[in-house]
Every structure is written in structure tokens, then in C-alpha cells.
Symmetry: C2
Subunit: 264 residues, 2 copies
């Protein structure tokens, strides 16, 4: 239960929450954005009294290094079905992430159904390309904390052969097949390499400015089937859209992030 342990939060008497950015969740020294999101969302959910994030926005302010952090949630409105909470996560010297979210009980809502999309076709996990961490920092340390398997057509970037399409498809699960809850979905939406790495452009990193996640269902046990794609790289920015399906073929999360695409 590495993920649950490494994202645990502890309530403090002043209504803030303490947590620790654990070692090994970083990309060249800075904690992964989805990992920080999961920690912050646990504190926000606790403050809201609701079990799940439904729509969660995060703006990334400073890189997070391993060590203690404090999350300060502030309940904006408690409604019948949703409670809206804003929060800041900071360490002893600066603000790391600021967030806003509506929390509720995913699955308690009802309505008609219509789906106009298919999960991505993927070879079986054992026929995909495992991305594991490497002491050089590429692939980054955090890949040692999860299991990520890329579609072979999208995996060449790691050996200098980008596909030419700003697209990553693949499987995601936690180590030891730890069950995936709504908070682990927040990790999954930022766990894949930036799509721009497959685009044959002079962009070597793509820091996230803003990331929004909608939790649309709670996953059945098993691998998540993931697709991240980008249509517009322009004006120094790109959007990256994520769709995540569970093992039963049901959409469980959508994400969109706005990332910077500095030349270099």
C-alpha cells in the first residue's frame, strides 16, 4: 500500500493537515504533480466531509521537494450533494500548489447514459513497454512507484524515436496491484510523459501551469487504460487531455492540463 502510505495526511488542531512528500516520487528532483494532487485532495476531502473529489483544479506554483508540507483547506460552501473547498499546499518556505474542488459521492448521482467514445485499443500489458525508473533520472524516479506500460507505437521517444504524434496510450496501475481509489486516479492523470515528447518539437520539458480532473467513476480492480493527447501546441502553451477507463471499459476520469512549452 505504498501509494496510500505515501499520500497520507494528518489533521492538525488548527484545521490544517500535515503530510510528507516522500522520496522517490520525483521527476529530476521535483515531486510529480499528480502525487501532490493526491495528497492535497485527501486533505480537502477530509475537510469537506465528502468521500471523493468530483471536479478538482490545481495551479502549480513552485516545485515540491521531499519533506514536510502543510495543506490548509477552506470550505467555501457545503451543499446538499457537493461541498466546495479551496486549499493551499506549502512547505516551510513557499506555496507549492493552490487548489479548488467540488467534493461529493461519485456514483450517487443519476441520469441518462450516452457514450460517444471508445477506450483506446492497447496490446495486453505484457506486450506493452514498461517504463521503469533509471538512476540517471530518465525515466524519472516516480516510475519506480507505479507500473506504467506504454503502447509500443508510443514508446520510441524513450530511445530517441518519438512517434511524431503528441499522444501517449498505455496501462497504469499501482505497485503490487494496490486498489485504485479516486485519489489514485489523480495520480494517474499526471503519470504519463508529456505528450509533446512524442511530437518532434524542440521542447524538452513541459511544466504544468494548471490541471483539472473530473472523477467520473470509481474503477473496478485491475489496470487502467489511459490516453493522453494534445491538439494545440501554440503560443508557448499546450493543452493535454486525458481519458482514463477502468478494466470494465468504463470512463472513470478525465483530465485537461495547460502546460508551458518552452523551446529548449
Amino acid at each position: 500500500m505504498v501509494f496510500a502510505t505515501d499520500t497520507a495526511v494528518e489533521p492538525q488542531t488548527d484545521e490544517s493537515y500535515s503530510a510528507t512528500i516522500q522520496d522517490g516520487w520525483d521527476v529530476v528532483g521535483n515531486a510529480n504533480g499528480g502525487y501532490l494532487l493526491a495528497i492535497a485532495a485527501r486533505a480537502m476531502a477530509a475537510a469537506s466531509g465528502q468521500p471523493h473529489p468530483v471536479a478538482l483544479n490545481a495551479h502549480y506554483l513552485s516545485p515540491g521537494r521531499p519533506g514536510p508540507v502543510t495543506i490548509v483547506p477552506d470550505v467555501v460552501k457545503t451543499g446538499r450533494r457537493f461541498t466546495t473547498v479551496r486549499a493551499n499546499m506549502r512547505n516551510d518556505s513557499k506555496e507549492l500548489v493552490t487548489l479548488l474542488g467540488s467534493f461529493g459521492d461519485v456514483g450517487a448521482l443519476e441520469g441518462p447514459m450516452r457514450i460517444d467514445a471508445e477506450p483506446p485499443e492497447l496490446p495486453a500489458p505484457e506486450d506493452c513497454v514498461r517504463i521503469d525508473h533509471h538512476p540517471s533520472g530518465f525515466p524519472p524516479a516516480m516510475m519506480g512507484k507505479i507500473e506504467l506500460r506504454l503502447h509500443p507505437e508510443d514508446a520510441g521517444f524513450a530511445v530517441g524515436k518519438p512517434s511524431g504524434q503528441p499522444l501517449f496510450r498505455g496501462w497504469f496501475r499501482l505497485l503490487d496491484n494496490e486498489p485504485i481509489d479516486a485519489f489514485a486516479l489523480l495520480l494517474a492523470v499526471d503519470a504519463f510523459p508529456p505528450t509533446v515528447f512524442n511530437a518532434n518539437l524542440p521542447v524538452s520539458w513541459a511544466p504544468t501551469l494548471e490541471l483539472t480532473t473530473h472523477i467520473r467513476g470509481l474503477p473496478e480492480p485491475g489496470w487502467l487504460r489511459c490516453r493522453f493527447s494534445t491538439r494545440f501546441i501554440s503560443g508557448g502553451l499546450m493543452e493535454e487531455d486525458g481519458d482514463i477507463w477502468d478494466a470494465s471499459g468504463r470512463l472513470v476520469a478525465q483530465s485537461r492540463q495547460l502546460a508551458l512549452t518552452p523551446r529548449g
Copy 2:
């Protein structure tokens, strides 16, 4: 300059901003979400000292009726390129909207370009279907404050003939061709009918829970070319994705909202 006047904000000595929800921007009595967004964003931009919203999130808490409102912005971080601000908009009795955004100078960033999408093909504005307000409330009053022209294939819903596809394509501009700034783009992203109205489902309204907008460029003068679509209506929720291009064929805004889809 109806839009500029009707979304104006006034700084108060306590660092809040006052504004007025003007008559006529409503959908059956409640102010349009994009209109509220534009008002709030003006106050947030003023507080940030930056000219434009770049990524802006809003969670809708209560319907907004015409009358005075107060916007209370709170600068979370002032950075070199972006300033991050959270804000609440309230009237004399309740919170209406809570927001979080990163503000900066759209167009000041640089990076490589790659576009993998085309603007929607539309008949000329004069060959599209003008949606104007009607005293009955359908189409709603706010349609009298803007010019909206729908693709004829998407316009049948208004006379009981939905297309069957959760899709709206059309042209948008302000009255008297008032110039469209970044704040008017915030109006545009919520100005079209809910996509579900074209889906042949028993859903008669789709209140917005959360709406995120990315401003990707400042539009050239002229009509905006807009496309709103939905892929997943499930579990009482749907996402609605918007892409907005300017008259020169450049993407200027993207939006995604999470809306409720109650049966009825």
C-alpha cells in the same frame, strides 16, 4: 459597448470589487455562467495586475439574480509571468461563484507551434440560424445580449427536432460588433445551449458544476467560430468541451465544463 458596461467592476477600499448583475443576461431568471465569469475575472485581473486570464476555474454555488454583487479576490502568488488569484463572488445573501485562476499576458509566451485540429466548417453567418431571445424565456433573455448563429444542422432542437448528436457549432459575436477581449471569450464559452439538448435524452437542463477556460490567444476582430461537444454523458454528469477560433482561423480559447444531467 453593452458587454464592457454590463461586466464593469469597481474597486472598493477594502480590496474587494463591486459590480452589478444587469438585467437581461439570464436564462429563466438566473444570470448566465459565462457572464458571471467575465465579471469575476475582471476583478481578479485587476487584483493580479496582469491583463488576461490564462487558465480560469469556476465552481457555481448558487444562481445569480440581477442586483449588486461583491467579488473578493485573494492573490495566492505573484510570479514572474503569472499571478495566481482565488476569488469569491457573492450577493447580499450567499456565495454565487468561487474561482481560481492564473493571470498573465496572453501572447507574451513563446514556443514551437503544432496544430492537429481544424476549426469547424460553418455556413456563412447569414446562412446560419440566429438564436434570439423570446419573451417566453426560450430562447433565454441573454440571447438578446449577444449574436449567436447556429449551424443549421444543429439548430433543430429549438423547434423540437434535436440533431441526435450532443454538438453545437456556430458563430458568436457581441452586439454591435463590440470588440472581443479575453473577458468576452469567457462569455462565449458558456453562451451556447447545453450540448445535451441535441442528444435526444430526457434532460431538460444541465446546470454547470465546474467550468475551466484556457485563453490561448486574443481574437482578431470579427465573428468567433465555436464548437461545443460532449463524449460522455454518464453517472448524472457530462463534460462539455469547447473550442473557439477567431476570424483568422486561430484557436483563441478552450473550455471544459462538468455539468449535471438530471433526468426530467
